[in-house]
Symmetry: C2
Subunit: 434 residues, 2 copies
């Protein structure tokens, strides 16, 4: 903090990192924003890419374009590999970078809870690549099923299992149901009525962060849309052609049984990125980094953790939401400016703007300002909020266009099977050891 | 032709195959349309995908959606592997299919003329995957160049060589220039002025299918846009970091010299798909299939060749254009109906609707109804024609939106670097032996 122009290094161009960077636009500093992708992903709509409802490009935008014009900022398209807290250095795939302030906003990655086979056969839904890979897999199931004469195998090919009854699981199951019952059944009339969607939740209700009234509403809506919901169902293994389930409350059959399915979307668990575990930061068993009420790391006042990766002190736990990351980013910018000016940073206060999960056409569950909303009002609320927050005017436009099209014609625009294979593995190199 | 309901098998869902299938919609037959992709690609706009001007999804549309509602048609997402002309069978990656009429509309693939290194280092531009791979490569050059301190290496990284001065080469060089001089220089201000685009043509003018006035216009426009044009320049080898050139007319230096460049877009040669060579059809040295004036194969009246793959009798040569394939498809449908009804098919008459090549913003070269057009009128003509012919209303809409955006804001929408790798090799398994 002795230099006149401090170096701020921000790891991750998600909501947390990007909002920190933008909120520092008038700060006299050298800011470096790092991300392994050259684009920011609007993750709240990722499930729609996974369900072929949105084109992948509609939820991605080049970081350089977003930050264009911010003269104190430099974008680095690289991987963060190692952190030296003593020397205040970050080793990246493009050189070593010194910092005076470090903001770690790397989010979380998928976690399989150590479930055997999940890493090999289940599809996470945490990145744009995940969304594209899952979408291509779902579409290819129908092509493959056309050539499968055995009814039982066809049922496995056309059974889509969604693991996890949180917002992502609920939203993905709903979107998948609309894709399968709508355009896919029209494109594959020979397979009409054969596809099934199963949503598995280990707990006793969906959307546990919301009221039980909203949970019940989501369940009713999804069942009406033809989604089979199994509560108290835990996945104990995943194979290429099915999952092993433990359902203590199951009637008429063993609680430990197998369900045939060649598509398993895994929305159940998250952990901090494995690389962060070796950085010497105070991590939880789930790989998140413990922070004080100011989002700083203990004894490292120059290190801030923003977004999903931050684990607040006990009793102040915050949900993993874009809103928390955005507000955390703005808070961190103000805190860095304060420290640089010799003042103490304030505590981070999250202003709760509510919770929303869309279930399908005209139907969503929302808690806003302490009130529950369902049905069409919640759906419009969801639409409005997402469009307003989508970064970049043009993306908003493209997303609106796609949605209007879907809405009017019950059609999906993104059903192209691109013959591309992802470069990196879907699951992190190592999963949590807890 | 003894069966009451003839089996029509159409290989390829490009313009030729798709237009044949659609023109047979009232024919009482079992029609199978086969393609290795589940989508039709609007190839005339592929260069825009390669230049990050259009999202890949904007020029692709699921075949099942296009043909939905045509009850006599069945789509097969498979590869055609082998043809048995005697038994009238096609072996595919999804079973063996018998036919009474066969329509081969497989188009052409890239051809390197046997140039050493081209298969390993040059980017063809014939398929949607090609467009995506080339686009990602171009964008990644700027990220890589940012970290390259040596000026000469940086020049190679930022030199884009386009091989071939036909419509694709001219259109791609123009679109690339607009991408590089516009959004990329704004996103990478540190590299401004360092990128160069070189268009190589072995002949003595661009766009040889058009008048020399239009050739001169295209050259002048491209040079004004900063594209370096080298006529009489033949590529004799391609390396990872450059091309070997033979330029007999070169002044001030050896005619055999090397040009550093890590991006080589290859639009120079085409050939019939290698797999077709072993099918016992009468192929030219370039792998195209010789047909009579009715598009039938000699002594095989039940076999039609439609589109780029068809080689007309001497003196009746047709250009490789979407228009020729579409009209050939409609002709073939009528010919099949005629043969089935015991009549002789008519000769194929191509109604020339003209030639068009877009060069950049407000500028194109066109020959329509025997007249040459340049500049803004030609550009509007081009826009109109492409929008009218783009299959599917929604795609038209998305394409228009993208263009309007580009036009108004000099912006590109598709600059996302997706970390995906193509599954199949870019170049055909074997190249022409001639």
């Amino acid at each position: 903090m002795s230099e006149p122009r401090p170096k701020v290094l921000i790891l991750g161009a998600g909501f947390g990192g990007l909002w920190t960077a933008r909120a520092l636009r008038r700060f006299d500093a050298d800011i470096t924003l790092l991300d392994r992708n050259n684009f920011h992903t609007f993750l709240p709509l990722l499930y729609q890419v996974g369900a072929a409802e949105l084109e992948p490009f509609a939820i991605a935008r080049p970081v350089r374009t977003i930050t264009r014009g911010q003269d104190n900022l430099h974008f680095l398209n690289a991987d963060a590999l190692r952190l030296d807290l003593e020397k205040k250095l970050v080793y990246t795939s493009h050189g070593v970078h010194a910092y005076d302030f470090l903001v770690v906003a790397l989010g979380t990655v998928a976690w399989d809870f150590g479930t055997p086979g999940a890493r090999d056969h289940a599809f996470p839904l945490k990145t744009l690549e995940d969304g594209i890979a899952l979408r291509s897999h779902v579409l290819s199931r129908f092509e493959t099923a056309l050539h499968e004469p055995a009814a039982e195998k066809r049922a496995s090919l056309l059974r889509f299992v969604v693991v996890g009854g949180g917002p992502t699981g609920v939203e993905y199951a709903g979107a998948l149901s609309e894709l399968v019952r709508g355009p896919l059944e029209r494109d594959y009339p020979a397979l009409a009525g054969e596809a099934s969607i199963v949503l598995l939740e280990a707990g006793d209700r969906l959307l546990t962060a919301m009221s039980s009234r909203l949970s019940a509403y989501a369940r009713r809506r999804l069942e009406k849309m033809g989604v089979e919901i199994r509560l108290g169902a835990r996945v104990t293994a995943v194979w290429e052609d099915g999952v092993q389930l433990l359902e203590p409350a199951r009637e008429g059959g063993s609680p430990d049984h197998r369900l045939g399915a060649t598509t398993v979307a895994w929305t159940a668990g998250v952990q901090g990125p494995p690389v962060v575990r070796s950085w010497g930061l105070p991590v939880t068993p789930g790989g998140r980094v413990r922070v004080s009420g100011t989002l700083q790391v203990e004894d490292r006042p120059e290190v801030f953790i923003v977004g999903d990766l931050a684990q607040m002190p006990e009793g102040q736990d915050l949900p993993m939401l874009a809103q928390v990351a955005m507000q955390g980013g703005r808070h961190t910018a103000r805190a860095i400016e304060a420290i640089h000016a010799g003042r103490s940073p304030r505590a981070f206060r999250y202003r709760d703007k509510g919770l929303l999960a869309v279930i399908g056409r005209n139907s969503a569950a929302a808690r806003v300002a302490g009130r529950d909303f369902t049905g069409l009002p919640a759906w419009w609320l969801w639409l409005l909020i997402h469009i307003v927050y989508l970064i970049g005017f043009r993306n908003r436009f493209a997303v609106l266009l796609n949605w209007a099209w879907d809405y009017l014609f019950f059609e999906r625009v993104a059903r192209i099977l691109l013959p591309f294979r992802r470069q990196a593995p879907a699951w992190p190199a190592e999963t949590s050891d807890s």
